[in-house]
Amino acid sequence: MTDHKPKIAFFQCHWCLYAPEDQEWVDRRLPDNIRLIKVPCTGRIDPLFVLNAVQGGAEGVVISGCLPEKCHYKEGNLAARRQLQEFSSFMDYIGYDEARLRFVWLDLQDRGRIQRELADFENQLQQLGSAEALAARQPLEEGGAHE
């Protein structure tokens, strides 16, 4: 195992963390290698968001949402589950390991679980090594041209 801290894009549904401590930790004390991207609902996550994160260089993507039957927007996470699960299985089909996409469905009473999930996922990514299936996007220079 290496000491490399993999970059993780962490999409969090606005509502899934019930305990104030957990939300506080996610908002302010996330390690540098994890980026929090808040969305109103997992149903808001366009597969293109995930692809952008992956091609931008994130080595793993975590999507945390409410339990399927307890969606804040009635059934947003059900739609997300269909679309994003199919997307991840499709990415796996073309060689991008679906172990790099993790869904965490949090119950109201899952106090302190998100920290464990993220640590576990980081561990998993370290074991997987670096991701090479997809080409990374090149940043634009000032003014919009490619380097």
Binding site: L78, R82, E86, I94, V104
Partner: protein, 322 residues
């Protein structure tokens, strides 16, 4: 002129003369050999140019979205085209009442590239019969076995007959073998992760971003494609690896539950890039999880338009749901 061609022509003539439709979408005789072209007949007298044979490669449903929804359209439909039309009706792109579908059981589309590979480019004429394609080249006449010349998508075709045509010209054909299309996906799935990545990269990175696949696809009718979007810029627009990867992934993914496996994208591709292995995988998933196949009727919404609590039965098994 074949008997079938004659039937199509007289049906089209009847539709136009009786004023039942404003336009008939079909094929006309080619300017270049082996390449009959889509044509839009508005006057009965134009119909003498109408043609139909196994080399008519376009999916005519593609042109449905180019007309306003009020236009009454007569359209030549084969099995896949009929399913594409159904899928478009589900997506409210035209109403069924304004469509008159002239159905033809399809014996498969001949891949002109395969023909040219055997005959060379100097072709004077050809004749498409039941089992053979007779090609008259400058120096030689070729009698080619038809089945081997079919486009791969057509060799795997499951539903060659139109499902909801207003009139069916010719005898219905037996249904195809559904395991062929699955076998292709499964054999790709069976490859190692590295082999799959290598194949995908090899195919995608040849892309020249001409978007011929998009233009040929009946389901790609967006006013503005995500690749052309500026705010935000979803992906690189040049022929960089990252850009071509994103294009092929999302183009296919946007077809989930909508692609009817007609293969028009591959036939249109100037770089001969394989694409149906992507869309077929999505189609197979939709069937396995939701018993949904695109275009089988013009009412059922595709799986992404609905969702149930039971979905997890399919998904949580993978172990990545925690």
């Amino acid at each position: 002129m074949s008997e079938l061609e004659q039937k199509i022509r007289s049906e089209a003539e009847r539709l136009l003369k009786e004023g039942l439709v404003d336009v008939v979408i079909a094929f006309r005789k080619e300017d270049a050999p082996l390449r009959p072209q889509p044509a839009f007949f508005t006057h009965p007298e134009d119909l003498e140019n109408l043609t139909y044979n196994g080399l008519c490669a376009n999916n005519l449903a593609n042109y449905l979205t180019r007309y306003p929804r009020e236009t009454r359209i007569g359209m030549l439909v084969r099995g896949c085209e009929n399913r594409s039309v159904n899928a478009l009706i589900v997506e409210k792109q035209h109403s069924r009442e304004n469509l008159y579908l002239i159905g033809i059981p399809c014996t498969g589309i001949i891949d002109w590239r395969k023909v040219i590979a055997l005959t060379g480019e100097d072709i004077l004429g050809y004749e498409d019969t039941d089992s053979t394609l007779i090609v008259r080249a400058r120096h030689q006449t070729f009698r080619l076995p038809r089945q081997e010349l079919l486009h791969p998508s057509c060799q795997r075709c499951v539903h060659p007959n139109p499902l909801s045509a207003d009139i069916l010209l010719g005898e219905a054909l037996p249904e195809g073998d559904p395991t062929l299309i699955r076998a292709r996906v499964e054999s790709f799935e069976a490859l190692s992760r590295e082999e799959r990545t290598a194949f995908f990269r090899q195919e995608a990175e040849r892309c020249i971003r001409c978007y011929a696949c998009r233009e040929a696809c009946p389901m790609c009718y967006c006013e503005e494609c995500f690749v052309d979007h500026n705010t935000p810029r979803w992906t690189e627009s040049g022929t960089t690896p990252a850009g071509t990867h994103a294009w092929h992934i999302i183009r296919a993914f946007h077809q989930t539950g909508r692609c009817t496996s007609c293969g028009a994208c591959e036939r249109a591709c100037p770089m001969d890039i394989q694409m149906t292995y992507l869309t077929d995988k999505l189609g197979k998933d939709m069937w396995d999880y939701y018993q949904f196949a695109a275009g089988m009727d013009d009412k059922t919404q595709p799986p992404f338009a609905a969702f149930t609590m039971d979905d997890k039965k399919h998904f949580q098994a993978g172990g990545k749901l925690s």
